[in-house]
């Protein structure tokens, strides 16, 4: 079904001088879509041209509309030689194809050149007329909505969550084509940008088609990534969760609450029983065991023919291209000690834990023996077919079976969501992950990307089987990533095995479950912690206890997940960011040898990362990790592992035991002393952390909890009890104990350093908290001040100190210093929390380590922990206004110049009249023209908002007067004096946040996905301020372009913003550098809750919000 795309070029401003002689520019514009190009007239001799063109009309297929970007090129006309390009703007018109998103794209776009950066701005208006509205969603995937947000978007309700969608497209990378040798860097960069834009359009369309096939209408948690495979090509892949969403139009959406998303979640009306069978006396249908039987990990059994047990899943010298699957089972009781043919394999770990007197037999590879019950790297011990356990058994089985029916048709029951509607998540098993090392080869036929598809299919299959082994049918919080170095590529996937409530997964459940509504009070707040697997036949050794909350079900002692903290979970105290950092040197090698070396290293890395996480978690006195993300990066001569997660204390889980240090040589007196000193330090740290994060769980006597589940005998050898009830520490009593003490064995200096490094992590300064999840557990009184930022650091290692220890230290310092810097920089926002802290590590060169952090700092109100929303909002307003930042709060105010009630300072009126009379720059004239053109569109509602904003602002000035007077010298009048120039500001504030919500505000509309890819290159690195200057400017430009696109769509914020890629390459000798950045997010319109109250009482019109924000943009 065709459509008509209409484009109008209005004006330009701040153009660069292209003609040195006149210091002016003769600019014109080329508008290109597909193969059609239109041109505007040349606007002679101006840096602020007013083209005011006619409407350029493109009649195109909707397939093209989805794939192609609109390309606008600004050029300088030259009579004698070729016209010089000033720069380009790519506009993704996809948002115009949804029925309810933006209707027009209109605004100032930065003109971007890959060599010079932003060079002025251009004002463009874009519209789309789609023919035949009735058939709109049928033939193409136009109309399928995409969201980066990994939860159900705030103003929608999930009717059905269909499941996993994935797609990938490949192409040759233009940078590596033969033609690149003869064309300019600019042409090459532009070819790349354009190609990627095309590919992501195509990818989105294809995913949309899949969604339509599943009868969904939206993709949530859409994650699109680029793999720059160099010679072998360019892969664009995407995953997401198909859903059927319903727009919430009820006034419930206007509830002015929701400073924490938890409240918002509750607005989603749900009318089905999340646990439909909890009350049923017994399964009425016989258990279908056969649905559950599966061969333990068939995916690896294929390649483990040489192994003598079914446990030989550990990396063999993996034949390329089938890299190893990483299965680690450090202390599985069911392991037999086979697989000794792998002398370095991680099976040694399990071996050591199995052999009695392990301390004497510890292999040199393994310096610490740890027992942990959390399942991170799933062992493939046979999980019994769905046989019923004791109490939870029948229910679980039934639930499984039910869910099964919904999930079994699906190839991959994966969900990219990290937060769910209440009741959706029934149980959480633990983290499942899989990695595979591949050698890249040239993609011969771009139309048949079979190899890449096959690679991912393999990994997904494995994840699926891991989940099954955990007694789970689904994987939530699922994500995929790659790390590429030369021709080696590590593919990684991870997620959280979970049991889901089937009600969201099936069609037609809405009516069917209505009657069960009464039962829905059942979901306990601890339900998700309960183990989904069969406790008698556990897939791995876990230390189970009865749930500390309900006392009915079993829970593990530690829980690791990749999802956000469920909103209904009971948490004690606050959470904190926990990171494990690790480097491993690797010999430089080629191709297969390299792949093998990496494969051999991976399990050790995984194991150590996990150990570190566990140790740090215990050190913090916490028992669960959320948002776990483990990134393994491969470089020429090293591997880096970085795991980030948010630690919390779940009330349902048992209190974590302490960490105990054991020395190797007990006879040495001074050594002993040293050990005890360390032990004391660790204990102190734990105590301090408990205080810091306010972890003070209620004491529970043992009788209530009941006896622990009998443990496998082998395990107990590792455990040392640390009885807290009695003073006497029975150090060698290994037989029992309710708490799982953690033993660190110090047998050489390395281990010593490891312990030291545990203690060197300094907590953030007071007033600061940090987490990598959406919200910080334990803080719920956010104020509206947010600051999103990206920080990049690159360090050069001196080649002298290249030992694992030195590397680890360097890397650790790098991350710690980076965090310290962030705290220092944002100190003006205290008390505040860094949320969604996202670290990315890359190894651009031999001795370079690059760490990129994106996060958002949100202030919160320390004093009023619990107060009503209303007073809270007022408080926050006052706060912000004393900070002179009321304009950030009320972006609408920026367009309020013409308001009669505005108390204009005389100077300003004077200024304005002066500027309208005399020769003002054309840009200013242009904007005033624009203003008038949209002004009539603005309804009285906006005026209302503006008035509101005004009154608040006036109020705020009053409150700040005293402050100003107190300040010395001339500052007293400063603000009033400076009011005229700043009120003239034309740029609306666009907020950016990696979170899915904006504190203190309500998202009223999703305008579409923002997915942008930029390349910037320079051949005058020194002149641009060196690498720092270059990258700083580029990132600022990327932000600017994102903001401009959002503003043009009529939005005022980007949520779920993510910088997916930041590839930086430099060549200081040639004075050159190049950087590629890929960002995405959801453009939204939000309204402050304080404004909302007025609106909802007086004029609850939804559609004028968009026009209002447009106004703001074009003012």
């Amino acid at each position: 079904m065709p459509g008509k795309l209409k484009v109008k070029i209005v004006a330009g401003r701040h153009l660069p001088v292209m003609d040195r002689a006149s210091d002016l520019t003769d600019a014109f514009v080329e508008v290109k879509f597909g193969n059609t190009t239109f041109k505007t007239d040349v606007y002679l001799k101006s840096l602020n041209p007013q083209w005011n063109s006619e409407w350029f009309k493109f009649e195109v297929d909707d397939e093209d509309l989805q794939d192609e970007p609109l390309q606008i090129t600004v050029l300088d006309h030259d009579t004698y030689s070729a016209n010089d390009a000033i720069g380009k703007v790519y506009i993704d018109i996809d948002p115009l194809l949804y029925s309810e998103a933006a209707t027009v794209i209109s605004g100032w776009f930065p003109i971007y050149d890959t060599i010079h950066g932003i060079r002025g701005e251009i004002n463009v208006v874009v519209k789309v007329d789609l023919f035949n509205d009735l058939n709109r969603f049928r033939q193409s995937s136009c109309g399928v909505k995409f969201f980066c947000t990994t939860s159900i978007p705030k103003c929608y309700r999930a009717v059905i969550i269909h499941g996993f969608v994935e797609e990938l497209v490949v192409n040759e990378d233009p940078e590596y084509q033969w033609i690149d040798r003869i064309r300019t860097p600019r042409a090459s960069n532009e070819a790349r940008q354009r190609l990627i834009s095309l590919m992501s359009g195509e990818l989105q369309r294809k995913i949309g088609l899949k969604v339509l096939e599943m009868r969904g209408n939206a993709v949530v948690g859409y994650l699109q990534c680029f793999d720059l495979e160099g010679e072998s090509g360019l892969v664009v892949r995407a995953i997401g969760t198909a859903c059927t969403l319903d727009k919430l139009s009820s006034p419930a959406a206007f509830l002015p609450a929701c400073n924490s998303p938890s409240k918002e979640m509750k607005e989603i009306p749900f009318n089905e029983d999340p646990n439909p069978n909890t009350h049923s006396s017994g399964p009425s249908t016989p258990l279908k065991n056969q649905t559950y039987s599966f061969s333990p990990s068939k995916s690896y059994s294929r390649q483990s023919s040489s192994s003598d047990t079914d446990l030989s899943l550990t990396p063999k010298t993996a034949p390329y291209p089938q890299g190893p699957r990483i299965y680690l089972c450090p202390s599985s009781p069911s392991l037999s000690c086979g697989s000794l043919h792998l002398k370095k394999s991680c099976l040694l770990l399990s071996e050591s834990s199995l052999i009695p007197h392990h301390s004497s037999l510890v292999s040199p590879v393994l310096r610490k023996s740890v027992s942990f019950s959390e399942e991170l790297f799933l062992a493939a011990s046979g999980m019994g077919s769905g046989s019923a356990g004791k109490e939870g058994g029948p229910f679980k089985a039934l639930l499984r079976q039910q869910t099964q029916s919904a999930l079994e048709q699906r190839e991959f029951p994966f969900f990219t969501l990290t937060a769910f509607p209440p009741g959706f998540l029934v149980h959480v098993g633990g983290v499942v992950s899989a990695r595979s090392v591949k050698l890249l080869d040239r993609i011969h036929n771009p139309d048949e990307p079979e190899t890449r598809d096959a690679w991912w299919a393999e990994i997904r299959q494995e994840i699926k089987s891991h989940a099954k082994a955990l007694g789970c049918h689904a994987v939530v919080g699922y994500s995929e990533s790659t790390s590429i170095c030369e021709e080696v590529c590590i593919l990684s996937a991870s997620g959280t095995a979970a049991v889901l409530n089937p009600r969201f997964l099936q069609d037609g459940t809405v009516e069917g479950c209505l009657e069960q509504r009464l039962e829905e009070n059942l979901p306990t707040r601890c339900g998700f912690c309960h183990i989904p697997y069969d406790e008698l036949n556990m897939p791995f050794p876990a230390h189970l206890t009865y749930c500390y909350n309900c006392r009915k079900q079993k829970v593990p002692d530690v829980l690791f997940t990749t999802i956000d903290l469920p909103t209904d979970a009971t948490v004690i105290g606050k959470g904190c960011l926990i990171q494990a950092r690790l480097c491993r040197l690797k010999k430089k090698a080629q191709a297969e040898a390299n792949a093998t070396a990496i494969s051999n290293l991976l399990p050790f890395m995984e194991y150590e990362v996990h150990t570190q996480l566990m140790n740090k978690l215990k050190l913090k006195g916490m028992n669960a990790l959320f948002g776990l993300r483990i990134q393994i990066t491969v470089g020429e001569n090293m591997l880096m592992g970085l795991a980030s997660a948010t630690g919390v204390y779940l009330a349902a889980l048992p209190t974590p035991g302490g960490i105990q240090i054991a020395g190797k040589t007990p006879n040495d007196g001074s050594y002993e002393q040293h050990i005890s000193h360390m032990q004391k330090k660790i204990n102190d740290t734990i105590a301090k952390n408990k205080e810091l994060y306010e972890i003070n769980p209620p004491e529970i006597s043992e009788e209530i909890i009941g006896s622990p589940i009998p443990e496998p005998r082998q395990r107990s050898r590792l455990l040392r009890s640390q009885s807290e009830s009695s003073d006497e520490v029975t150090e060698l009593d290994l037989s029992h104990g309710k708490k799982d003490a953690f033993v660190l064995e110090i047998d050489d200096t390395d281990a010593m350093e490891d312990v030291h490094s545990l203690l060197t992590d300094v907590p953030p300064p007071s007033g600061f908290y940090s987490c990598n999840t959406e919200i910080m557990p334990g803080i719920n009184n956010w104020t509206s001040e947010i600051q999103m930022f990206t920080s990049v650091r690159v360090i050069r290692l001196s080649s002298l100190n290249l030992t694992n220890q030195a590397l680890n230290k360097n890397f650790n310092d790098l991350c710690e210093n980076l965090l310290k810097s962030l705290y220092f920089k944002l100190r003006s926002m205290i008390p505040c929390c860094l949320c969604h802290v996202n670290f990315t590590v890359s190894l651009p060169e031999d001795e370079l380590i690059q760490v990129t952090v994106t996060a958002v700092a949100i202030t919160f109100d320390k004093n009023q922990a619990l107060q009503t929303t209303k007073t809270h909002v007022e408080k926050s307003l006052q706060r912000a206004s004393t900070d002179n930042e009321e304009l950030l709060q009320f972006p609408l105010e920026l367009c309020s110049d013409s308001l009669p009630s505005h108390p204009l300072p005389p100077a300003k009126e004077h200024l304005e009249s002066a500027s309208s009379n005399s020769g003002i720059p054309a840009a200013q004239r242009a904007t005033s023209v624009d203003y008038s053109s949209f002004a009539d569109r603005c309804s009285s509602w906006i005026e209302l908002i503006k008035l509101k904003a005004q009154t608040i602002r006036r109020g705020s000035i009053k409150t700040t007067v005293t402050v100003e007077k107190a300040s010395p010298v001339g500052d007293g009048n400063f603000r009033n004096r400076s009011a005229p120039p700043c009120a003239n500001s034309t740029v609306g504030v666009v907020k950016m946040t990696p979170l899915s919500f904006i504190p203190g505000a309500k998202i009223t509309k999703y305008l579409g996905i923002i997915n942008m890819f930029f390349i910037r290159e320079t051949t005058s690195l020194r002149e641009e301020g060196g690498v720092s200057g270059f990258l700083h400017a580029f990132i600022a430009e990327v932000f600017a372009m994102v903001r401009a696109h959002v503003a043009a769509l009529g939005g005022n914020a980007v949520v779920s913003y993510i910088m997916k890629q930041c590839v930086f390459m430099e060549n200081p000798n040639k004075n050159q550098a190049q950087c590629l950045i890929n960002v995405s997010g959801d453009a939204v319109v939000f309204v402050r809750e304080s404004d909302l109250e007025v609106v909802s009482t007086q004029q609850p019109t939804a559609n004028c919000q968009s026009s209002c924000t447009e106004g703001e943009v074009t003012t």
């Binding site: 701040h14 930065p110 932003i118 300064p765 600051q787 999103m788 930022f789 650091r793 690159v794 360090i795 290692l797 001196s798 360097n810 210093n817 810097s821 705290y823 220092f824 920089k825 100190r827 003006s828 690059q850 002179n884 930042e885 304009l887 950030l888 100077a907 200024l911 002066a914 500027s915 005399s918 003002i920 720059p921 300040s967 010395p968 010298v969 001339g970 500052d971 400063f974 603000r975 004096r977 400076s978 009011a979 120039p981 700043c982 003239n984 500001s985 740029v987 504030v989 666009v990 950016m992 720092s1028 200057g1029 700083h1032 990132i1035 600022a1036 932000f1039 600017a1040 903001r1043 401009a1044 930086f1064």
Partner: protein, 337 residues
């Protein structure tokens, strides 16, 4: 381990006022770090010097990138690259265009040319203001001068419109531009005791009353050049001294006008004849450019207390009796701690 690259980019560009001041004052990164260490900021935050160094470098880089935009303040408002809150934008502009009293006294009335720019290192030595800061201030003067030089209409308004300065700062710039244009001599020893405020006050009155624009505000002209005709006409003032009746009339008018407004009224009344003669002497000789340039030196030399303004109002300018107008020397606002 060395840091190759270290950047921090916020969606909203944060402006640290203290850092901005240090940068404007022309401190090098190392000096700025040292100053900040001394301020005790590290103890407050439990931070390290390395963090401070990185923060300082980063802020300086941001300011450096903003500097280009600050050269044309309206651009700062319209640009999209840095999202800066309007209040912060105003602060950036105001502080950037602020100048030091000591510096402005050195260059006031000098031609804003390359030659003067070469003398900046001397000025830097004399005033103790860093050369970098001197350059910025000088370039600001020159930039404002260049933009408004050929413009019509009110000088202050033009400056305010093109540089978005506060009213007071725009007036000060008007004075600077006016002095530079007319090259009034202000550097002589005898004039040393006069502050910039004193000169700025005179300049404002002269712009209001002595320039072409003052005569007829409808006329398309400049507020920068003195009205030559008017200066010629001043010759006629001889009468005020020569004619006894006129002298008396003049005296009575002045006394009526200033009654109760002057601390030194009685001295003025007693010495009126001498004062008047001195002033008229100055006034009648303003026909040559050189004399005009020397106006202030000569106006002070003959112990004349007031310069005279011939048009409707008789207003005093500061003289040896001390500044009559309570204009405080314009100081840049102190940093907020």
């Amino acid at each position: 381990m060395t840091s190759e690259l270290d950047i921090f980019v916020g969606n909203t560009t944060l402006i640290d006022e203290d850092m901005y001041r240090l940068w404007l004052d022309g401190y090098l990164v190392t000096n700025a770090v040292a100053l900040r260490v001394r301020s005790g900021i590290l103890e407050q935050m439990g931070s390290t010097a390395a963090v401070l160094q990185s923060d300082t470098m980063d802020r300086y880089r941001t300011f450096h990138m903003l500097e280009r935009l600050l050269h044309a303040p309206p651009k700062l408002l319209h640009q999209l690259i840095f999202q800066i809150l309007p209040s912060r934008q105003a602060l950036l502009i105001e502080r950037y265009y602020a100048f030091d009293e000591a510096f402005v006294r050195e260059v006031l009335g000098k031609k804003l040319s390359k030659g003067t720019k070469k003398d900046l290192d001397d000025i830097s030595t004399i005033t103790g203001i860093t050369l970098k800061s001197c350059r910025r201030q000088f370039d600001n003067f020159k930039r404002v001068f260049k933009v408004v030089e050929e413009m019509r209409g009110s000088l202050v308004d033009n400056i305010q419109q093109h540089f978005l300065l506060s009213d007071q700062l725009a007036r000060d710039y008007a004075a600077i531009v006016f002095f530079a244009n007319n090259r009034f001599e202000t550097g002589k020893k005898k004039l040393q005791y006069l502050s910039f405020g004193d000169f700025a006050f005179s300049a404002e009155l002269m712009i209001q009353n002595w320039t072409l624009g003052a005569v007829d505000s409808q006329m398309d002209d400049m507020h920068m050049d003195l009205d030559k005709e008017f200066l010629q006409d001043l010759k006629e003032l001889k009468l005020l001294v020569a004619d006894k009746d006129l002298l008396d009339l003049h005296k009575s008018l002045v006394c009526t006008a200033l009654w109760g407004k002057l601390g030194v009224f009685s001295e003025m009344k007693a010495n009126f004849k001498n004062l008047s003669r001195g002033l008229v002497n100055v006034a009648t000789k303003l026909t040559h450019n050189k004399d005009v340039r020397d106006l202030f030196r000569r106006a002070v030399l003959p112990k004349s207390v007031f310069s005279v303004c011939p048009l409707p109002r008789w207003l005093p300018t500061p003289g040896p009796l001390g500044p009559l107008h309570g204009h405080p020397p314009w100081l840049p606002p102190a940093p907020l701690s």
